[in-house]
Symmetry: C2
Subunit: 193 residues, 2 copies
């Protein structure tokens, strides 16, 4: 049984280290390994025992981010129901991992890796399809390309991640702020009464 305990602990270790790494790297992509190790509450030696090196760590964080993004798309079931509700569900599902998206948005070097890039393409295309569907349903504006809508949405998710991390946006407000701004824009609607 010692083997089972071993692997189980390793797994949670990996994840908790990755979470800590996100917190540091999303803001300072060039942070030293010392800093990441300290943030994770472990020594640099142990960090090296878990991940072969810096590149591997970065890639793992990227892969984690994309997995979580995919999970959010799944749990929001963006392929079903009307597009607006689907997007609102997506916002709720992704906002807790906004910092991870901020990391994905900033670390462009990640996309040199074909595996990472493919994962990204899949998720990005799912979002684009959602916008296309919404446009066909007459829900989303057709003057703006689905590609731009999807890109801008991701930019704002990343923006939420940064703003929350730096304390400029209350986590409590983040989903609402994101959904309202993206869907409704900054302009006050003429009073419908």
């Amino acid at each position: 049984m010692s083997h089972l305990t071993y692997t189980r602990n390793m797994a949670t270790d990996r994840d908790s280290v990755l979470e800590a790494a996100v917190g540091v790297l999303s803001r300072r992509p060039t942070a030293h390994l010392d800093e990441i190790a300290r943030a994770a509450g472990i020594s640099r030696a142990t960090l090296h025992r878990i991940f072969p090196g810096r590149d591997a760590l970065i890639r793992e964080v990227g892969a984690l981010g994309l997995r979580k993004f995919a999970t959010a798309l799944d749990s929001a079931a963006i392929e079903t129901g009307d597009a607006q509700s689907a997007l609102r569900r997506l916002v709720d599902a992704i906002v807790p991992d906004a910092a991870l998206c901020a990391f994905l948005a900033g670390e462009n070097q990640l996309y040199d890796d074909p595996e990472i890039n493919e994962l990204w393409e899949i998720q990005d295309s799912r979002v684009r399809v959602l916008f296309l569907r919404g446009q066909q349903e007459g829900v989303f504006r057709i003057e703006l390309s689905a590609g731009w809508l999807s890109e801008a949405f991701f930019d704002l998710v990343a923006g939420v991640g940064w703003a929350v991390q730096d304390g400029r946006l209350a986590p409590r407000d983040s989903a609402y702020s994101l959904a309202e701004l993206f869907l409704g824009g900054a302009l006050r609607r003429p009073d419908p009464s």
Copy 2:
């Protein structure tokens, strides 16, 4: 007169090198000096002759970005006229320098420098005041804080910069896409006819 020619050439050299540096650094903030020098069409030796070192170069790029941002705010005269038109003017004025804003958004280490930070605070506060004014005029939505509106606007400007640089958004469409999405949101408005 040789002295005049000298300084004039140095000035344009500096600027053209900075422009080239933006092109590289906005996408890959960790690009080597070799790469930047090549992008600028000069040797690494000359790059060192113009800028004492990497830090200085980065800071100069940041300062250039903030100067251009301030110039855009000035030329758009965001303090005058109705807030919506002011924002549209700002969009038109800032879009040509969107890549510079993308750089400013990505290079958080810049804000360790007090001088840079102060410059940023000034411009950011001007934008925030514009949104506050628009909210008081009933033009912008009051459910979203002026701080968030200003931050999200900047995120989208940076997003435009990245998208244009990577060829995902046509420069011709960029101002329209930015203004329409930010002001009107992604939802199709109910047909007013």
